[in-house]
Amino acid sequence: MQVFPFLVVAWIVIVGLYGLITSRDLIHQIVCLIVVQSSTYVLLLGVGYVTGGVAPYFYDIGRRALAVDPVVQALALTDVVVEAAVTALLLSLAVQAHKRFGTLDPHDLAEFKG
């Protein structure tokens, strides 16, 4: 199917955002944020696919004419590392919040109106 991977992207984004908005637990919200970002992996790798292309590694198979786009794979790699870093930092902030108040519910933590 020509557009199916892209529909999956839209679905993942909506599911992740829905989880973020209805959540009552900070850790759950951070995981929903990861879900939202996962959609970008699918999108990146989806736009770079070439039908009938091989993976862009030519050590054992030698140079082939048709290969999948390598640039999006490099971008996705960068994306994964960025996500890992942000998630780690967010988790430490969540631990800090939990330590102060003993709760992880964003509704209980909300003190100042934005």
Binding site: V3, A10, Y18, I21, A74, L77, G102
Partner: protein, 260 residues
């Protein structure tokens, strides 16, 4: 906002967002029909120019190496930030003698590790570390690179934790050494780029000898070197990150063992 209002507002907004996405995806060339010039151009030039048969690594560490240095420093900053936040919390907690609400909530009992788990994990530590090392140093030929290798190296140490040897885990992850390793990895990457400037070349130019034929261990110039430095940095950063998070529970365990 009441939860119900929030949900309704989100429902409408999400419908709009999905409509936007669908409208946009209509303009894409369809799955499998990647059109653009960037990919084929790189595929054409990667092996002749860099002698690296792993084109994705060539992109990551040579063509778009500047992105990679930014991304590496993102990990660096995140690990530094985590250290600041969590170490200070640990310091506060060690000073407080009274129990905070958090302690009451997380009063779990950690079960002792079973023997099969101990044996399995301890046996796997060596091979995992070796695998991580191999992946980090062979970016120019494998679908691997500094990042993947570094994470696997870090997980080798986590296997030590899983086997129940939490004291050994703490001894093998001294904070100062890890900070230094992480900084040397990140700083080394920047230094490799600056060394190019010293020679009058553009930043992050591939100035090391490219090797005689593509796809050998010594080919691809700075790509292999940068990949190795990135591997060190990522391994140190992940050990720091996981170690800091685990310390939050380890402290309680050690304290409980100390009291009993």
């Amino acid at each position: 906002m009441t939860p119900k209002l929030r949900l309704w507002l989100f429902a409408i907004a999400a419908a709009g967002l999905v409509a936007c996405y669908l409208w946009a995806f209509g303009g894409l060339p369809g799955f499998g029909n990647y059109p653009g010039p960037y990919g084929p151009e790189i595929l054409k030039r990667a092996i002749p120019e860099t002698n690296a048969t792993g084109v994705v690594s060539a992109i990551n560490f040579d063509y778009r190496g500047f992105d990679t240095i930014g991304e590496e420093f993102i990990l660096f900053a995140a690990a530094a930030g985590m250290s600041v936040v969590l170490r200070r919390l640990r310091g506060e907690r060690e000073q407080q003698q009274d129990r905070s609400p958090a302690d009451e909530v997380m009063n779990r009992n950690v079960p002792p590790t079973s023997s099969p788990l101990r044996v399995a994990t301890l046996v796997l530590v060596g091979p995992t570390a070796l695998l991580g090392w191999w992946l980090a140093t062979h970016a120019q030929t494998n679908p691997s690179g500094g990042f993947q290798g570094g994470v696997i190296l870090a997980s080798a140490l986590m296997l030590v934790y899983l086997s129940g040897e939490s004291i050994a885990f703490r001894r093998f992850s001294p904070v100062d050494l890890l900070d230094a390793a992480e900084a040397m990895g990140a700083g080394g990457f920047a230094a490799v780029g600056l060394a190019a400037i010293v020679q009058g070349l553009p930043f992050l130019d591939n100035y090391l000898p490219l090797g005689s034929s593509p796809g050998t261990v010594t080919s691809s110039g700075t790509i292999a070197l940068i990949s190795f430095l990135v591997g060190i940095e990522v391994a140190a950063a992940f050990i720091l990150i996981v170690g800091e998070l685990l310390e939050q529970t380890l402290l309680r365990q050690v304290r409980r063992e100390g009291k009993s």
